[in-house]
Symmetry: C3
């Protein structure tokens, strides 16, 4: 791996660490900024993809408020990163996602295992998600999404 490519790969790791920390700490507006204004969040656990930063933020805010009300701390781990640079200059980043859940005063446990496939773009030097495709391991793979 070239040193330049290695640095891009590392930058994506860092991007995900920041992005997930923002979500898990309930900093939803900052989290939503990590998506393009017209970004798409396509999760097969949702009835249909969320389109645009406003919808993405609004969906996350509801989930975040519910967790806070329930006294539950979620942690999103992304790992096993593979990156491919596409001819159009976008980056295709595949990861595994592990979601941990800890109730206040209670026992931490695995909440869910999913895969995550992102199309990332560089927007004035800053990485952002153009399209995120999340597939839960407990659901059949039938719905392949539009990716």
């Amino acid at each position: 791996m070239s040193e330049e490519r290695s640095a891009v790969y590392q930058e994506i790791h860092h991007f995900y660490a920041r992005q997930m920390r923002l979500l898990d700490e309930g900093r939803v507006a900052e989290w939503a900024e990590t998506f393009e204004p017209d970004g798409v969040f396509d999760a097969n656990g949702h009835p249909e993809p969320l389109r645009g930063r406003e919808m993405i933020e609004s969906g996350a805010r509801k989930a975040s408020e519910r967790l806070a009300a329930d006294g539950v701390q979620r942690r999103h781990w992304l790992g096993m990163l593979e990156v491919a640079e596409r001819p159009d200059g976008t980056l295709f980043a595949q990861t595994y996602a592990l979601i941990l859940s800890t109730p206040r005063g209670g026992q931490a446990s695995v909440h869910m295992s999913t895969t995550c496939a992102d199309v990332l773009v560089r927007d004035e030097g800053t990485l952002r998600v153009r399209r995120r495709t999340v597939r839960r391991d407990d659901l059949a793979a039938a719905d392949g999404g539009e990716n």
Copy 2:
């Protein structure tokens, strides 16, 4: 850490992400290609080490078909990577391995925690496993293997 060494370290991360994804997606022939033709897979959960790519592939295929028949999605996470370059030019890579398991329609959970120690070699530019030593955390450490 030098930038060159950092790039090698990153390349190994990437190698593992691809390797585990191939296994978890049931692409067993491609997965087996990530081992040397005379590679060895020594797991203390097996009665004896698997020797050669054919045996390694055959063992993985049976496990993969059983999981598919049972509707179970496994995810192999490798992490906490330490790498040492050996005088003979091989790389010694130590990781923790976490295996998650999700039944279709069911709850994800931790299946197993192990350590993994690999001797990696570069074969015409491509990393491959010459010898893998997997030790399950639930079994006594008595069997140290031949490593």
Copy 3:
């Protein structure tokens, strides 16, 4: 991300892999050497912060001996690393920590989910922890520590 910064980031990953492996293998004296002589380990699961390498080592030794006596193998995973270089030259490294636990002959499971925030310094080329702040996800965030 610059190639230089990427290499520092990678070095911290490697530092954590080694540090956690030392702890999980019960090599407590070597583990304690990864802290500064006057380092501080502040965990909100403890009644008060451990101050100085001797106290840190002694606390870890007791925990390690208890686990060995109980036949339990712990694995500390750190991930989702974010690093910031501070004006004083120290590094501020934030991670998620996942602790897995496997009893001999038994089932691996999630023991705990925490966050970890470290002030790291370079001591004659070697990274060490000056101050570690661990916050358990099951405890209220009220105690913010001195960080």
